[in-house]
């Protein structure tokens, strides 16, 4: 490989052609501060507007300071990263950015994990000259069911715009206006609710400031926990246990399932259940739906649509309701695990406990912000009472644990309650891209062939590649499977399906990079994609560690069908566990 030699802060370094000064400095252990820049290398996303001008360095022979994030190294280049000129310029620019940023840090939801705040600390900013008479750019606050936009705090790093457009192709956000009033916003600066936003939360996941944050459901949870007339049930999604530890300083990829259960018990939840149980249930319903559709298709019924698309991801559901309204009959009608859990908890479990549904409060802990929107959709309510009352993110749970004075890292491992806390390895891998379809394959294979699977690890379905495909041999019947994570990848796949160019039988789609482990509600990765990989590893390790690894073998699932539902896709199952979709393509966005 062709290389380039240069010196940075008087130290020689040799880097491949095309390397930026910022990355070259990193190899020397020199961390040039960056604010707008973000490299999600594994996702093929690099946000590099060179707009914040914090990463500027002095390059000998150049008239102006250069942004190291987007300046390529050249032979013989002499770079200085901390001359007086650079330090003064960097501080002055930082003061400028702060002069147009609200100073409510103490009460800001991002306080403590704000990249702007960290930068102010790093650069030793002590005052903002002229703040008394500096005009600030202010905008309307926007409260959606999942995401709060407080763009007074926007610093125009454009990361959210990159995620929403380049990675997710949702197109809800764009830079608007010009100059001092420029900001990232939906069309006509309307609320997100009136935009094609799917609430995937990837904008929140990358926002360096408090401009984009999640709607906080914890006060409502605290109130429910304190209400003696309520039985409060919690369910935790598979990806949460693989990331929660990060909020308590544990290494990324540390599974904290047992500690999490113990903590939830200390918080005072009456029943600690697992969304994984509902994931197993999803496999029963979705797997059966796949086999039914497949069977009809093979027998020549042209009215049956294939491929079947997974429907557990609410960001993805929102995406196809907005963009593929002509294909609403293609996705599985199975509800997401969160909603299946809620429906079962407020019927089957309520009956078992002899309680009315109004006496139960179902709280979900999710790696996801779209789940907040999902749980308040009208079709998931009975007489106005939602199946799932509140959905909190992994980050909110961590906060709740801290606020309840729990020393998390020292907690013993505890077990989920039964019956809705028992799960299999198949349900745990729901948290990673390819996991749902792998779990479905394990069950569908055995149900279809009547044979026992020799090999449970379908590694061909795993990985971080945006779009993947594999053919699984169902005892002579080749089943073509497609997988996409990230809505931009989903769009590519779906466009092909729409044109009839593919021969997939089943497709799994997750809105977020890496699947739920990279969800918008997870601890912030600050652009470090190695964290996503570590979480994925933890998920698969949990699966391997389980004795039961196939959903249809979950004894409590078997019992649920025996006692309550009958069989998969029964009338009762249909009523409780399946849903329908809406055409949102013509939603009136200007009111």
């Amino acid at each position: 490989m062709e290389t380039i030699k240069l010196t940075i802060d008087n130290r020689p370094v040799e880097v491949p052609v095309g390397t930026t000064v910022y990355k070259a400095a990193k190899t020397l252990g020199i961390d040039i501060p960056v604010l707008c820049y973000m490299d999600l290398h594994d996702l093929g996303i690099e946000n590099k507007p060179a707009g914040c001008r914090i990463c500027i360095v002095e390059i000998e022979g150049r008239r102006n300071l250069a942004p190291s994030c987007s300046t390529a190294c050249a032979n013989g280049m002499v770079v200085k990263t901390h001359t007086t000129r650079v330090i003064n310029a960097r501080r002055t620019v930082m003061e400028l950015i702060l002069s147009d940023h609200p100073k409510d840090c103490l009460t800001c939801p991002k306080s403590g994990r704000c990249e702007l705040q960290d930068m102010a600390v790093k650069l030793g900013i002590r005052n903002i000259p002229g703040q008394e008479y500096a005009e600030m750019s202010t905008y309307k606050k926007d409260f959606s069911p999942s995401i709060i936009r407080d763009v007074d705090k926007c610093i125009m790093c454009r990361r959210c715009e990159t995620m929403c457009n380049d990675f997710q192709t949702v197109g809800a956000l764009s830079a608007v206006n010009r100059g001092f009033m420029s900001v990232v916003a939906p069309a006509f600066e309307q609320d997100l609710e009136k935009s094609p936003c799917t609430y995937c939360g990837q904008c929140v996941a990358v926002c360096p400031t408090g401009a984009l944050t999640e709607v906080d459901h914890t006060p409502k949870v605290i109130r429910a926990l304190a209400d003696p007339t309520k039985t409060v049930i919690v369910q935790t999604a598979p990806a949460v246990r693989a990331a929660l530890g990060e909020e308590f300083g544990l290494e990324p990829g540390t599974s904290v399932t047992g500690k999490m259960v113990a903590a939830l018990r200390q918080l005072g939840f009456d029943y600690i259940f697992d969304t994984d149980f509902a994931a197993d249930l999803t496999i029963m319903e979705e797997g059966t739906e796949l086999l039914t559709r497949l069977g009809k298709h093979l027998s020549g019924d042209k009215s049956v649509k294939l491929p079947i698309l997974t429907s557990c991801c609410p960001g993805w559901v929102g995406f196809f309701e907005h963009n593929y309204s002509d294909m609403l009959d293609v996705p599985s009608t199975a509800k997401s695990p969160q909603q299946m859990f809620g429906a079962i908890a407020k019927t089957y479990f309520a009956e078992k406990m002899g309680k009315k549904r109004e006496e139960l409060v179902v709280v979900s802990v999710m790696p996801c912000l779209a789940k907040k929107f999902e749980c308040q959709r009208d079709e998931f309510k009975v007489d106005g009472n939602p199946d799932v009352d509140y959905s909190i993110s992994t980050r909110e749970l961590a906060h709740l644990i801290k606020e309840f004075n729990v020393r998390f890292n020292e907690l013993p491992d505890e077990d989920f309650d039964r019956p809705l806390g028992e799960s299999t390895g198949a349900s745990i891998i729901f948290g990673a891209t390819g996991g749902v379809i792998e779990a479905a394959t394990r069950t569908a294979y055995e149900l279809h062939t009547g044979k026992k699977l020799e090999r449970l690890d379908f590694t061909e379905l795993r990985g971080m590649e945006g779009i993947r495909s594999a053919t699984i041999d169902f005892n002579g019947l080749p089943i073509n499977i497609g997988i996409a994570h990230g809505l931009g990848n989903a769009r590519k796949l779906l466009d092909e399906v729409r044109l009839g160019k593919t021969n997939y039988h089943a497709i799994e789609i997750m809105a977020c990079p890496g699947g739920c482990i990279g969800g918008g509600g997870q601890p912030l990765h600050h652009g470090d994609t190695s964290i996503l990989k570590a979480r994925t590893k933890a998920i698969y390790a949990e699966d391997t560690g389980k004795t039961i690894r196939k959903s249809h073998e979950n004894p409590y699932i078997i019992k649920l069908y025996e006692e309550f539902l009958g069989k998969p896709m029964s009338e009762k199952a249909h009523h409780l566990l399946h849903t329908h979709y809406f055409d949102k393509s013509k939603k009136d966005i200007f009111i």
Binding site: G171, L173, A185, A187, P196
Partner: protein, 160 residues
Amino acid sequence: MSHIKVELKKEQVAKLKEICKSFNNEAGELINVLHKSQETFGYLPAEVQEIIAKELNISVAKVYGVVTFYSFFTMLPKGQHPISICTGTACYVRGAEKVLDEFKRILEVKVGETTPDGKFSLSCLRCVGACGLAPVVSVGEKIYGRVSPDGVKDILKEYE
């Protein structure tokens, strides 16, 4: 930007689609499409932007991002007689600011606004290239040169 709800007639929608089509529905032609649409409709209300976005297969947010970037595009209908005061440097040093102040005072509107009766809208533009006539004011297509604050009343009288 404030919004006025507009119902587009079928013919108007068809006209917009025709404009987009005349540029091969290419996203790269967005600015030309917006020019043509504004020429046709006088301004670019949200509804017009929506249709353009759909036809060119780009997000409405992106279209709005472009519309709000360029000062030539407006989402508000202009007055019957759009008044523009040149605030180029040549006009500035020859007193354009005082002329502008006088228009603002008499019409009781700010720059970028339209009088409540819809008759006049007030805007600034940078250099029309008639610096010999500075300060310059244009009302619609008509250009007035060497305008003094005293002359503002007389200009407005022509349109009463």
